[in-house]
Amino acid sequence: MATRKPETGWHGENSDVNHLRGRAFEATCLALTAFGLVSVMLLLLFVANDAFRPLSADVGWLATYAVTVVVPLAALAVYYYRLDEPAGEVAYVASGLPVVGLLLTGGFAVLFTELLSVLEWFALLISLVAAAGLIVAHGRLRPKAALERLVVVLLAPVVTVFGLPPTRFNWLVTDAAAALGLDFGLYYRVISLREAIMLLPFVPTDWVMLLLTLVLPAAGAAGWFVEQRRESRRDGLAVVGLTTVAAVLGVVAGPLLGIGADVWLLVVTFAVLPLGVYVEGVLRRGEGVRGLAFPVVAVLGVVAGSLITGALGFAGPDPWLDWGFLTSATSRTAADAGIYPSMVGSVMMIIVIVLTAFPVGVGAAIYLEEYAPSQGLMGKFVTLIEINIGNLAGVPSVVYGLLGLALFIRVLQWPQGSIIVAGLAVGLLILPIVIISAQEAIRSVPDSFRQASYGMGATRWQTIRQVVLPEALPGILTGTILALGRAIGETAPLLMIGAAASVRLAPNSFFDVGSMMPRQIFSWSSELEPAFRHGVLAAGVITLLAVLLVMNATAIVIRNRYQRTG
């Protein structure tokens, strides 16, 4: 082969190959990339400077933190990058995990202060567990009755959570039945388990309920995970025990440090426990252990920095984005303005979107990929639908806002500017994106998996449930989280459905009027005082960006994990 001469001439034969065009093209591409990246970077730096105002600090303050935090972390980062790449990844996750955990903690803390009391949460969870118990018991008692089980699966949660329908409906049914000569005797409404728990004269205190419903299940899961990994039952139990002890100790000791019991339990569940399990994994594998130094150095640096600046009396910067900004409502005075109610609004809007767009989108994707006919006339029709879903993904967001206005406010008469309307309108907006990304994920499951499953005698339903969905789930989640990132930043639909410019109370229910972060940022942009348009606006933008970055980072981590194992 090596001796055979090419029959047609190739460019290397005569030495007058011109590299100029290729080089010019490469240089142009590089210039375009650099231009895009640099301009976005500059913009972000500009906004961050407005939000944090680092230059308002003393020089000594900046120098101190540069020495205690920036220099050691930069040195570590260079070390990881050059010499110890696995440690770099460990450092990334070990620093990111607590941040995500604390954000989740914040989310749940908001949930418990604004949306439902701990008791309501407890009752809801117990009812759901009871429903699951009913379903499992039915499966044990009558393993063959598939249709009956479907009814149980659908009805059990409804009965335990909502009880029987309102009395008036029961009367209607009973009267109708009586006219036919039947006697149901449904004159009284049976309350649900959830409502029964709510009516108990004495219930455990809030922290006990949180311990039972959040900490122990999470600890149990972590313990089971560790037990599987280390193949040691004792280690698994140790995780559960340690977590419980840490939780209870914090509850007892917390008041001394000024940490509320509820907050501490949330921190344990969402930050301490995942971090602990991750650190355990790193230590066990013995790979990249040095990466664990990164968060430790960061925390020590901050502590040292604050001690030194406190002792020497250096004044820190006076940022717009501070704790007060995150915890107070908007105001006419720029210094008092905050983003809290709109942050709660955004979180609740995301909950609505997750509960609606995610199941609908994934359901549609499963149908289109796994069940929908691909041949014949119906196949053409399905193709048409798929093309239209693709087009819907490109429809301007303001149109979805109009749709929301017309459908939910004018037709259904739901309150304008309410969380549920905002969530559904934006949910419709990202629905096509969710469908398409879920379809991609399902399509990427190799057909051989399905064939193998069928070959072992599995039904289509069993194949989808046991083979396709578990394989596709990380991809589906990645796509959905990215779509949620888009949803949280959408402004136009919120304007169309009448989300107000200034809302000072966080919504307490999904039918409350609320504001969302992008809407609030937009209204600051038209304030009279320049301090709003520069400082407060920038702080709002950085907050929104931080939430977005965390969501995207989560998506990337899930995808990486998926690519490695899959």
Partner: protein, 331 residues
């Protein structure tokens, strides 16, 4: 997650955890459910008054309403007062008359067509005059040629009839530079007022301008263009007086040129002084939250709060008249 294959484990775990829980429960970790179970979100300062007040309407009135909402909510923490700026006309047409908002701010009186639209939805608007404004015409800081404009000149600039495109078309000695016009959108009450009182009912307001619902954008446009010109509420000039230059105005050629200021608006010497209104749905006034808020609003409208924002506060007689009207309707 307790579905572990080895049953001994789950039993042991169950025993451990239930033992812990039992001990804790014995230690008296229960609470009485008769505590208020609303999640504890209602913060301090609530005196039992709760509910919701929805304000839409004029961007000119928005700063006043927003300040009132903030002050009111400091006293009544459970009343959710939300304020939005949609333009006077936009607020009437899209929110107030369909019955979706309780209060509409307006920088002009309600029109007959709007009253009709409201009454077809059983919404009866109640009018309160709450403040005064000096509509301000502004040009770029470098436009040193123009200090005073007559209504006639404004009419030429802001209607298409005279065919004015450049400053030199208005007065010959002015530079041959294009007039970049910035103004409120047609949903705005400021637009309606200017159209009705300066351009004239029979003349069309020009469409050759940058319309916007955000008065801030008008200021920016004028600031960045030497030939720029626009008009907006005095409050926006008040907080941007460095960025743009306000033009003195006279209604007739024989009149004196008067600069926009709160004092001149108050004594009536400024020809573009105009009243600002609040329209409240009569049915909404029957709810305690709305009527208490309006009472607070009308009382505060006479104080310096309004002046600090950049508007003329209502007079004491005006306030008393308003309160009397409120008592009559709200009962």
């Amino acid at each position: 997650m307790t579905d572990s294959p080895s049953s001994g484990l789950s039993r042991r775990r169950f025993l451990t955890s239930s033992g812990t829980i039992g001990a804790l429960a014995l230690a008296g970790c229960t609470q009485n459910t008769s505590r208020d179970g609303d999640g504890g979100s209602a913060d301090s300062g609530s005196d039992g008054l709760s509910g919701q007040v929805i304000i839409k309407g004029s961007s000119t009135v928005f700063p006043i309403s927003d300040a009132m909402a903030e002050a009111f909510m400091d006293e009544h923490g459970s009343v959710n007062v939300t304020v939005d700026s949609t333009g006077s006309g936009g607020g009437f047409e899209n929110w107030f008359c369909p019955g979706d908002s309780d209060i509409n701010g307006a920088s002009r009186p309600i029109t007959d067509a709007e009253v009709e639209q409201c009454s077809s939805n059983d919404v009866e608007p109640v009018e309160f005059e709450i403040a005064g404004d000096a509509l301000t015409v502004a040009v770029n800081n470098d436009a040193d040629w123009v200090d005073c404009l007559t209504f006639e000149e404004l009419r030429q600039i802001w209607s298409d009839e005279a065919g004015v495109t450049n400053w030199s078309d208005v007065r010959d000695e002015w530079p041959d530079m294009e007039i970049e016009r910035y103004g409120p959108a047609s949903t705005s009450g400021t637009f309606d007022y200017f159209n009705g009182n300066v351009v004239g009912e029979d003349t069309e307001h020009t469409t050759e301008y940058q319309p916007t619902e955000e008065d801030e954008t008008i200021v920016q446009g004028i600031r960045d263009n030497e030939g720029g010109m626009g008009y907006f509420g005095f409050a926006y000039y008040n907080s941007n007086s460095e960025a743009v230059k306000a033009v003195e105005v006279k209604a007739e050629n024989d009149d004196e040129c008067t600069p926009p200021s709160l004092a001149n608006a108050k004594d009536g010497s400024y020809p573009l002084a105009r009243p600002l209104f609040l329209y409240v749905a009569e049915s909404a006034l029957q709810t305690e939250a709305v009527s208490e808020f309006i009472r607070f609003y009308l009382e505060q409208a006479e104080t310096d709060v309004v002046q600090d924002i950049g508007y003329v506060p209502s007079s004491a007689e005006q306030r008393d008249e308003n309160l009397e009207k409120l008592d009559e309707i709200a009962g």
